[in-house]
């Protein structure tokens, strides 16, 4: 019998492409023989904009790199400029940054948890994930007035000190939240159908992950213990005790979609641990170093990277001594993570492909910038 392969467009308007990703699929029945990501629908030229603005002015744009983890992006950019200009950040500001970054990591992973459920056909997890994320956003709103694009951090610190009662509310939330993770695991992680769907699909060997520059939970899902917060400790992360969860093949093979998912769920628990320690240890003091409004770092170049919920976000900044960066380049983790997709979805079924793409947890504005 003669059969033909079918070319089919998935996206840019498709429920599971997380925004405006377009996948061009070559399918043989239900089996995807080739998947090519086609990106660029969300390109806004952030890097070029960065050259035309001064260092302070670029901060709100970093919110838009990864809208689910704007605090982490703020922090990475601030750290890059601080290194360029050799600015000492007050310790209290460092602690606040870590608290915010870890809260945002939890919020981002909660969205991942929900969308994983959605892609597997379960509608309820996303509501549970968003319910808890809501409280985190309330905490952010309390601190900086915004719920999605915070623009909270500044070169040399943060824009404002923690408001009264923040620490109490944060601790209350953590007490409420920690048992909820178990509920999530009962509902989705260890659901028989979910396991059958997620296990042994989209296996990414560690060598493949490293070759493609995959970072973050995706790399750790493949069993590589690499976390910048530990391996290249920045800010005050060296003062906290926490584990780096890696894919262990608890179910299925190391590097499959389920292990990538599991690593994120375990990371939520570790972030809770970090925040608890930070809330206890946070010192009194200034929250912002003195940085002039007209701010000209010395000529030179710097590359700084930070561990974002999706992997390593890097800022490569060249300064020519003027108030604007000469070149500002963003290394976005999702770009590398989506690159590996066509490699690991080959010869899987359409239904699996959706789950594999979801397990990579890409965010489109970060890919297109």
């Amino acid at each position: 019998m003669q059969t033909e392969e079918m070319m089919i467009n998935m996206g840019p308007q498709h429920p599971s492409t997380h925004g405006v990703l377009r996948m061009i699929l070559r399918t043989d029945g239900e089996v995807v023989s080739e998947a090519t990501p086609n990106i660029g629908y969300l390109h806004r030229g952030l890097e070029k904009i960065g050259e035309k603005l001064n260092y302070h002015q670029f901060m709100p744009y970093t919110d838009r790199i990864d809208y689910l983890a704007a605090m982490n992006c703020n922090m990475a950019y601030a750290m890059a400029v601080e290194k360029l200009a050799a600015i000492e950040v007050p310790e209290r500001a460092q602690y606040i940054r870590v608290i915010m970054a870890e809260f945002n990591r939890i919020a981002s992973h909660l969205v991942f948890f929900g969308t994983s459920g959605l892609e597997a056909g379960a509608w309820t997890p996303i509501v549970y994930g968003f319910r808890e994320r809501e409280t985190i956003l309330d905490l952010f709103e309390m601190t900086c007035g915004a719920r999605l694009t915070y623009n909270y951090m500044r070169i040399g610190g943060v824009s404002a000190d923690l408001p009264d009662g923040f620490i109490r509310k944060a601790e209350e939330f953590l007490d409420y939240f920690e048992p909820k993770v178990k509920e999530y695991n009962n509902l989705l992680t260890y659901n028989r159908i979910f396991i059958n769907r997620m296990v042994n699909i989209g296996v990414m060997r560690p060598e493949l992950a490293i070759a493609y520059g995959v970072t973050g939970p995706n790399l750790r899902g493949s069993g590589v213990k690499w976390d910048l917060r530990k391996n290249e400790s920045y800010s005050v992360y060296d003062k906290f005790e926490f584990e780096v969860p890696v894919g262990t093949g608890e179910l299925g093979t190391v590097g499959d979609a389920w292990n990538r998912y599991r690593v994120r769920m375990l990371e939520i628990e570790q972030s809770v641990k970090i925040i608890r320690q930070a809330l206890k240890q946070i010192p009194q003091g200034e929250v912002k170093a003195k940085v002039g409004r007209v701010f000209k770092p010395p000529a030179g170049e710097v590359y700084v990277r930070a561990e974002n919920p999706r992997g390593e976000l890097g800022f490569y900044i060249i300064s020519d001594g003027s108030a604007n960066p000469y070149r500002l380049r963003i290394r976005a983790p999702s770009f590398n993570n989506i690159s590996v997709a066509s490699e690991i979805v080959r010869n899987t079924m359409i239904a699996d492909m959706v789950l594999i793409l979801g397990s990579l947890d890409v965010v489109l504005p970060e890919i297109d910038r």
Binding site: E119, G121, A122, V127, N191, V354
Partner: protein, 372 residues
């Protein structure tokens, strides 16, 4: 049953309105329309209310409210949705096969509403009483899969095509375990007549077929229920319309009232398969109590109020029937908002490797039990 109604009404009319002398054929035609309307109205009312209840149940399970604005507790939400959908622009894609595209929802409705014609809702309440009711239901419900393939093919959309092909494979596969579960009941009762099947389960909870030959009939009921969920494309078997994979599956290109027909057919189907499960295994309109709840009224009262008592009996039967059916429907909703979806090959494996062998073994076991 239909014939008795017609004869009764005709006799009543001839006795009381002697001027009217209508040929009997006209009576039949009139009654076809009246009963057709009753099925349509009843099924659609349930579909609308079912959609509302599903949204409220979903809200309850997801710690949110669900629709609660239109009417008391949002009860009229389905009316608002219906009006909105009727007023929508009726879009047919340019590349679509126009005739098939338009016809698909109607074919679907034949399959869905045809089942209702053979369902007994209470003692002597039902549209027809045919002696091969079960076979008829099996046959007429197959229209659904034809309609879905039609919709998937005619849309000229690749995602719809996937949905159509998936549902063809799925529904045809799952009809086999359903058929074997039917056979089990036919073996026990020796009839395909729905009323006689229910009569065979009279006398309380322990007489229901689900508890009759433990554990085999219980397993058969579970097999039926799981397969029925797959028949009506409910999570975890909703792969023909898997929105995260196939956008909307076979109804991706449908909008307006045509979409609403697919939507309503889903709920009507849910009711239909739950009703069949109730009739075959849960005693239909039989009370779970081993005694008659009308006994306390006293024999004098019962014998002197024949008409009133008959009404009460019907009402009681209908109440039991409805509560059992709605419980099964609620269970489907509960599962939908809890479980993820199977992959298409896993779905087939569940059918051919689990349900089918189990169903066969059951049939064998009950057959032996009946022989010994």
């Amino acid at each position: 049953m239909l014939k008795e109604y017609i004869d009764a009404i005709k006799g009543f009319a001839e006795r009381n309105l002697p001027v009217i002398n209508v040929p009997v054929e006209l009576w039949y035609i009139a009654w076809i329309f009246i009963f057709g309307g009753a099925i349509l109205g009843g099924a659609l009312l349930f579909a609308g209310l079912g959609a509302y209840v599903e949204r409220r149940v979903a809200g309850f399970l997801q710690s949110r409210l669900g629709p609660n604005r239109v009417g008391p507790q949002g009860l009229l939400q389905f009316m608002a949705d219906g009006i909105k959908l009727v007023l929508k622009e009726d879009l047919i894609p340019d590349a679509a096969d126009k005739l098939l595209f338009r016809a698909a929802p109607y074919v679907l409705f034949i399959g869905t509403l045809g089942v209702f014609a053979a369902l007994p809702f209470a003692q002597n309440i039902g549209i027809t009483n045919i002696n091969i009711g079960l076979l008829y239901i099996m046959a007429i419900s197959s229209f659904v899969v034809i309609a879905i393939i039609m919709a998937g093919w005619a849309s000229a959309n690749k995602w719809s095509l996937y949905g159509g092909m998936r549902s063809a494979a799925q529904i045809i596969s799952y009809e086999i375990p359903i058929g074997i579960s039917f056979l089990l009941v036919i073996m026990i009762t020796g009839t395909m007549n729905m009323h006689q099947i229910i009569e065979g389960q009279a006398g309380g909870l322990h007489r229901w077929f689900v508890f009759r030959y433990p554990p085999f009939t219980m397993i058969a009921f579970l097999v039926y229920y799981v397969a029925a969920m797959a028949e009506v494309n409910r999570t975890p078997f909703d792969i023909p319309e898997a929105e995260s994979e196939l956008v909307g599956g076979f109804h991706t290109e449908y909008s307006g009232m045509r979409f609403a027909m697919f939507y309503m057919a889903e709920y009507a189907n849910m009711f239909a398969v739950s009703a069949i499960g109730t009739i075959l295994f849960l005693g239909g309109w039989q009370s779970p109590l081993p005694f008659n709840i009308l006994v306390p009224l006293g024999t004098d009262f019962i014998s002197s109020n024949q008409f009133f008592i008959q009404m009460l009996i019907w009402l009681e039967g209908f109440g039991w029937f409805l509560s059992k059916v709605l419980w099964l429907v609620f269970l489907m909703m509960w599962l939908r908002w809890t479980l993820p979806r199977y992959r298409v090959d896993q779905l087939m494996a569940v059918c051919w490797k689990v349900l089918l062998p189990v169903a066969f073994f059951n049939m064998l076991a009950v057959g032996l039990w009946l022989l010994l």
